[in-house]
């Protein structure tokens, strides 16, 4: 099939998104300028925890050019609280009422003719606060009482507590030949996309209709929630799709920015733009991720096989609980990793503290679970005196065990972990990675670390509530839709309903449609349609978009091809089963000289209805089909949660080998080599998959070596600028050596697995192991990140001198 090999699945087709982004014609939210548009700015709380005694907005409101000043109380009458997934809900308002619970939390908002004036007015707002006890330590938060309790209706700062066991946990530990115990501290980091959260809303008072442009996603799913909060309905809301300047998960829960723009537009009767500045994004953007303490135990039998894992987890959620326990459900999807471990205990406590609340970030808790498990495996190897690679090989789930049910009930569809490991080892050999430590320059140490992790993909939604005994909103839909229309001239329009987030949705849609219809991609136009298109889209989240989009396109094209065959057969005067479709034409099987092209069929279906049987809907005018793809394999958990069901069954795998160099004088370190082999099932576009992997590794390097949101005891975020936070620059990220293995998924269209998070799901444990290796003579064991120079210095100073 000439066309397929050139432009179909497996080709590095050029990106559709590039031309506009390279020429300054991107369609980012802040690029949109509407007539009479006003601008919002907010007053963020200077205190981490305080009662709002009074707010004086008179001077701000009197400033020339100010169109309105609103407090939380002002807005409470015209909008409801923010959406939350938590049971019971922790109430959060877009603008705080009565109490500020973290630094930067919106206390008042100003709308003005320009953002300059709006910010002038913010500076004129006077707020009297009564400071309350600040809680920043999650272990202290467990015991908080009195005024240190953030949400008094909960009676404490514990917002979730659960303990679950699956498989023979007691037996595994009582009969273990060896038990490894370790504690870990996982740092609070965040996605830090280059584009902050932004929204424009335009309310039409005559029709009562809102138009919203925001760098959010899941417009069709979240939109109805927004409508309810704004006291309206979806017949009065249109959400448009914009280009998004990076999300990495964080913008999946982008709620208060578009909600504020919408409510303010209705209040002042003009379009309103609200764009976070970087400090707002970092303090008030709800853009922080997992902040956890672990106590872990791994049971091992006399044959060095892992038999049980116990995880006791304390997670500092920040001041609210929007994502509920979703990031723990996520970790549970592959808590036992690529290893056969038949018993698991998960003891979880979630607390609220006076920090920004958590949101999803590439990995969504799964990366934390991977880090802990891989660190436990390395600890076990050290204690048992077994080579860490051999210990991994010994415990891998074997190829003939797929599809494999994990102890919690999740399913791993397919894999070949040994082959991935072998491929990574071969690449490391080829690049002489293992020799590098021997050739360290004077004053430098070099260490090599390896990790083998799973890469769960294709999100289903039960992870958000399966740890709740009685969830308020047990959602289980994760649909993706397309509409494919063939024009009268045979060219094709593909409507998709999700934004460009830095992934490549238009390229994917064009490439997969070209593959399926076997036509040149130049014939295909891809359009991103908002909620007016009326179809459901869960969009990019949980490494699902390409796999689910492919399922939707395959579904729509299969329906289309049936009708194309019917039209073609009728035109050729033969029966349906006497023709076949290939390379853009319908051909008579027995006589290939008799054929009719797609453009000719399209014209016939478009304009010549009366040439075809009138009573058969197959021949209705026009070739347009839509399809909504639901999750291919997910199931519900059982009521007692002894089986969590199948919730993340499309499972890739990766082996990373990282090399770091540490300067002994300064204890600063950098990554000098990096090998990564991934199995993401069938690869649609190799260049784009490599891009996702490299980007994920770069963020993993950030988490492991540089990044962390640092709060002082007063709850002040002390590094709330990009200069201080530590996003890696080009100097910190090495060139990477990548390899691939493909074990197709038996459940998805074409066997595609997700790959959007894999780099960051694997990098941190490999880097931690590299630090251990660099200081093998000192018995260093990295149990917390990031390994900044001061963290490494502290760690080393706690070890016995050699």
């Amino acid at each position: 099939m000439t066309i397929e090999t050139k432009i179909g699945i497996g080709a590095s087709m050029p990106r559709r998104e590039d031309a506009r982004l390279l020429s300054g014609r991107g369609r980012f939210t802040d690029d949109l300028l509407l007539p009479r548009m006003a601008h919002a700015a907010m007053f963020g709380s200077p205190h981490a925890h305080a009662r709002i005694v009074s707010i004086d907005t008179a001077a701000a409101a009197a400033l020339k050019g100010v169109l309105g000043v609103f407090t939380g109380k002002d807005l409470a009458g015209v909008m409801g609280p923010m959406p939350t997934l938590a049971t019971p809900p922790v109430v959060q308002h877009c603008v705080a009422i009565e109490r500020a619970r973290h630094v930067g939390e919106p206390i008042a908002v100003v709308v003005a003719e320009s953002r300059y004036i709006a910010e002038d007015a913010v500076a004129l707002i006077e707020v009297e606060f009564e400071e309350l006890p600040v809680v920043v330590d999650p272990e202290a938060a467990v015991k908080s009482t009195g005024n240190a309790v953030l949400h008094p209706e909960f009676g404490s700062n514990i917002v979730h507590q659960s303990r679950h066991a699956w498989g023979p946990v007691e037996e595994a530990f009582s009969q273990a030949a060896h038990v490894v115990c370790r504690e870990f501290r996982w740092p609070r980091v965040g996605p830090q996309p280059l584009e902050t959260c932004a929204a424009i809303a335009d309310y039409d008072a005559i029709t009562g209709h809102f138009q919203v442009w925001a760098n959010m996603s899941q417009q069709s799913v979240i939109g109805p929630k927004f409508a309810k909060i704004l006291h309206t309905d979806m017949a009065h809301m249109t959400f448009h799709i914009r280009d998004v300047g990076g999300s990495f998960g964080g913008k999946a829960t982008l709620y208060h920015v578009p909600l504020l723009a919408a409510v303010l537009s209705r209040e002042i009767g003009r379009p309103v733009k609200f764009v976070e500045d970087r400090a707002e994004h970092m303090t008030a953007g709800n853009q922080h991720a997992s902040d956890r303490l672990y106590k872990a135990e791994l049971a091992i039998n006399a044959e060095n096989r892992f038999t049980g894992l116990r995880l006791r987890v304390l997670d500092d959620m920040g001041a609210y609980f929007l994502i509920a326990t979703g990031a723990h459900g996520n970790a549970l999807a592959q808590a036992t990793g690529p290893y056969q471990i038949d018993a698991l205990e998960y003891d979880l406590t979630c607390v609220v503290t006076n920090k920004t609340q958590q949101a999803p970030y590439r990995g969504f808790g799964g990366e934390v679970g991977n880090f802990v498990l891989e660190r436990m495996v390395d600890a076990a190897a050290a204690e048992l005196g077994v080579h860490p690679v051999e210990l991994r090989r010994r415990n891998f789930i074997a190829n003939d065990q797929f599809p494999y049910r994990t102890p919690v009930g999740n399913l791993y569809d397919s894999g070949d972990y040994t082959r991935v490991l072998d491929a990574a080892m071969a690449l490391a050999d080829e690049h002489k990675i293992w020799d590098l430590p021997k050739h360290a320059a004077p004053g430098k140490r070099i260490g090599v670390g390896l990790a083998t992790v799973n890469e769960r993909s294709v999100l289903s939604m039960t992870e958000f509530w399966l740890l709740d005994a009685d969830p308020i909103f047990p959602q289980s839909s994760s649909p993706e839709s397309v509409q494919v229309s063939i024009h009268a001239d045979g060219t094709v329009n593909v409507s998709i309903f999700a934004p460009h987030w830095g992934n490549s949705p238009e390229t994917m849609a064009a490439q997969i449609t070209a593959h399926e219809l076997m036509i040149p991609p130049e014939w295909i136009r891809v359009v991103q349609v908002g909620t007016d298109g009326g179809m459901l889209s869960k969009g990019p989240a949980g490494s699902r978009y390409t796999a689910m989009l492919a399922g939707a396109i395959l579904g729509a094209c299969t329906k289309l091809k049936q009708r194309i065959l019917a039209f073609g057969a009728h035109r050729l005067g033969v029966l349906m089963d006497e023709v076949e479709y290939a390379d853009g034409q319908v051909t008579c099987k027995v006589d290939t000289s008799r054929a009719i092209s797609l453009p000719d069929i399209a014209r016939a279906s478009h304009s010549h209805r009366l040439d075809f049987p009138g009573d058969d809907q197959t021949f209705r005018s026009g070739l347009t089909e839509s399809f909504t793809c639901d999750h291919p394999r997910a199931t519900l958990p059982t009521q007692d949660r002894t089986d969590l069901g199948i919730f993340y069954p499309i499972v890739g795998h990766a082996c990373h080998i990282a090399v770091i160099e540490v300067d002994e004088a300064t204890q600063s370190s950098r990554v000098i080599r990096y090998v990564a082999v991934h199995d993401a099932g069938t690869i649609v576009n190799p260049r784009l998959v490599d891009g996702q992997i490299r980007g994920g590794i770069a963020q993993g390097i950030g988490t492991a070596l540089y990044e962390q949101y640092l709060y002082d005891e007063e709850g002040q975020l002390v590094n709330a600028t990009l200069a201080d936070y530590g996003v890696p620059t080009s100097e910190e990220i090495p060139d990477m050596i990548l390899g691939h293995v493909e074990t197709p998924s038996p459940f998805t269209a074409y066997g595609i697995k997700g790959c959007g998070e894999g780099g960051r799901l694997a990098a941190m444990p490999a880097l931690a192991a590299a630090f251990d290796d660099a200081y093998r003579d000192r018995n260093l064991y990295v149990d917390r990140l990031p390994m900044t120079p001061s963290a490494l210095h502290t760690k080393l100073s706690q070890l016995k001198p050699v």
Partner: protein
């Protein structure tokens, strides 16, 4: 400006070869002037404190953070933005095409700033080594790509420019 108390100043400058003028408050940032008044929205604003580099433009051929520059400072200056990089026929320039060929962009938000930094580098040092390029772009944050393919694209472009110089 609605706020009458603020004084305003008339400025004239050249943007991508065209003479443009405006009336601005002295405090107006050049990035805002370019994006809002001139409606050239290709120059992006990522941090407004001079760290991310998304707002990088060239002033008289030198790369500058437009978010750390006042519009009035650009009076009489020659400004280049991403919109000026396209070929005369509207096609992507060789540098822009190299970015696409090497998959040097994903979300594309940092890309205009990186293109301007690369433009300056390639004009002054087309023979820059891979390490030189890594150093030159270290003031431009990219959160998507891990930088490798950006360096590939700039390096590829530099090699081609050197070859053209030789053959000329």
């Amino acid at each position: 400006m609605t706020n009458e108390k603020q004084e305003t100043t008339a400025i004239t400058l050249t943007v991508n070869g065209e003479t443009m003028s405006g009336v601005v408050e002295p405090r107006m940032l050049l990035s805002d002037f370019i994006r809002q008044d001139l409606q050239l929205t290709g120059t992006h604003v990522g941090c407004e404190h001079g760290v991310c580099g998304a707002c990088t433009i060239l002033i008289d051929g030198v790369s500058v953070r437009s978010c750390l520059t006042f519009a009035v400072q650009a009076e009489g200056c020659r400004i280049e933005t991403v919109e000026g990089l396209l070929e005369r026929d509207g096609k992507l320039s060789p540098l822009q095409q190299a970015f696409s060929d090497h998959h040097a962009l994903q979300c594309g938000f940092c890309t205009p700033g990186l293109l301007m930094t690369a433009t300056e580098l390639l004009r002054t040092r087309p023979g820059a080594s891979r390490d030189d390029i890594r150093d030159a772009i270290s003031g431009n944050l990219c959160r998507c790509t891990g930088y490798q393919t950006i360096i590939d694209a700039i390096s590829d472009m530099g090699t081609r420019l050197l070859a053209e110089e030789k053959s000329a």
